[in-house]
Each structure stands twice: as C-alpha cells, then as structure tokens.
Subunit: 134 residues, 2 copies
DNA sequence: GCCCGTGTTGAGAACGGTTATCATTACTGA
DNA sequence: TCAGTAATGATAACCGTTCTCAACACGGGC
C-alpha cells in the first residue's frame, strides 16, 4: 500500500461522484457506473470511496436510514450540510462558530480525538411548497 | 395494531433504556436485559425501541459505525451529546448557541421542519489514558 | 518495448446489524 | 371463562459493507 497506482476505476469513481449532485450511496454510485458502461466491481467502489474519504476528497456521513452516503468535496476544508430529507439536495454551510464550540466542549470534558456530526435535515423550500399544495 | 397491549417485555425495554445512561445500541440493550435475567427476544427489543422512538419516548440516531443507538427521552427538552466511541459513556452538553445557529441557517436557506444532528464523538478521558498506556 | 514485483481488482463469500416470518403465547374485552 | 387477536421469539431472510484470494495490470527498471 506504499505506492498508490492510478487506475481507471479509481478515476471513474471520482468522476461519477463529482457528476452526481448531493449525497449518493456507494450502491447507487455503483449502479450509476454500470449504467454508463463501467464494469467496475462493487468492492472497488467501496474501496475508492473509502480512500477518497480519508484523503479528504469526499465527505461521508450516515443517512438516517443507516447507509453511508458520500459526496464530492471540492473544498478540502471541513464544513457541514443542510440536507433535504425529501429530495436529497444539499447545501454546504459555514459552521465556524460550531467548530469552535465543539472543540471547546470536547476539551472541557477531557475528550480527545473529537469528531463532530453537525448536520441539519429538513425540508427544502421547493419540497416545503410541494408539501403545502398536497 | 389498533390496540396496544401492555406486556412486561415492552416495560422491561423502557426501564432498561431509562436505567442506561446515554445512548445504547439495541444489541447492547438486549444483552443487558439478558444479563439481568430477562429472557426477552432480540426481535422484541428492536420492536419496542422502534415503538418508543415513534412515540417520542426515545431518541434514536446513527453512530458513525452505522449502528442505530437509542436513548431514553424523559426530558422533552432538546440537548446534545458527547459520546465516547470506545466505552460508550456520554455526557449531555448544552448547545444553546448551536440551536440558534441551526435554526438561523435553516431559515436562511428556506428550509422548514429542520431537525439537526449535533453530536460529538471522541475518546473520553479514561479511554484516552488507556490508549496512551497501550 | 518488455519483464517482473507488487498494488489493485472483482466475484463471491462472510459478516454484522436489522427486519420479516410464522407458529405459539398470552393480553383484553365481553 | 373464553375467543379473538396483538405480541412474542427463534430463526431465516435481508441488506449494506468488508474480507478473501486468485487473476490482473500498473510502472519502474532494463
């Protein structure tokens, strides 16, 4: 694992992830890749996503349904999300104050290696309007 | 499903959940119940937890490892958690500033019915010390 | 360009958590 | 007490994810 080789598979996953808007599950990404002709294996998709995630090129979080979902993360810096639980669209949000708060609180309680989960699930403007009509 | 019957199992799950501090997984709760002598089935624990969750008597969220974890929700007031990913102990934390931030950000983007997930996972002081020794 | 060592791939098996199945049990209202 | 029917629980099925391992292919050295 010392040297990372470049393979078309890894690149295909990166591109497919960038092409898809919002969060997408590994399975969905695999299906999408097959649909567009890539005979890539499911295991490879998982591996590529895990790699992208650790390298900071992708965000990953757990959907409320328990799936791991991924998103291309052009800006390497840490940020959070506003996710519509109806249509899945996301908006990146600034959370500078929350960052500070999180690390302060963790430190106050003697916690180390703190990673925080700060995401807001709601109904986006469109879906709110659609729900109002129904 | 029209009528809900009262069974000792359901009550046992509720009590065990209240007794356990912080978040606990369904499996752990099942193990705990068996340890204290209840021959309750795993499926029943899942069902009871799901019911408690929909009734609002319990909170549920996904741990970063993908497990569903539950917490008794006696106090209706909303608060957040600092969770040790090693031993599972939790501390309740005040998050007034984060509450304000979350609703403000959601409103700014036209989102409604926003529920936020704000939890910090880390290593508690004890586990940090234990890890340092190893 | 060709070889070879080794990182990578992929099909399928294994795995762990959760949910469904279904015969049996036991609440509950009459 | 009794019948009707939710609830239970052992187990199988399910689903997403990770592991296994033989086959493959990238890339540095020649």
């Amino acid at each position: 694992m010392a040297i990372r080789r470049n393979t078309w598979q890894r690149e295909a996953v990166r591109e497919a992830l960038e092409r898809s808007e919002g969060f997408i599950s590994a399975q969905a990404l695999h299906t999408e890749l097959h649909r567009t002709g890539s005979p890539i294996g499911l295991a490879t998709v998982y591996r590529a996503l895990a790699d992208l995630s650790t390298e900071g090129e992708a965000d990953s979080l757990q959907s409320p349904e328990g799936e791991a979902i991924y998103r291309s993360c052009a800006s390497i810096d840490h940020h959070h999300h506003l996710i519509c639980r109806q249509c899945g669209t996301t908006a990146e949000i600034e959370a500078t104050e929350v960052e500070a708060w999180a690390s302060r609180v963790a430190a106050e309680h003697g916690f180390t290696e703190a990673r925080h989960v700060v995401d807001i699930f709601g109904l986006c403007a469109d879906c709110t309007a659609a729900a109002a009509r129904a």
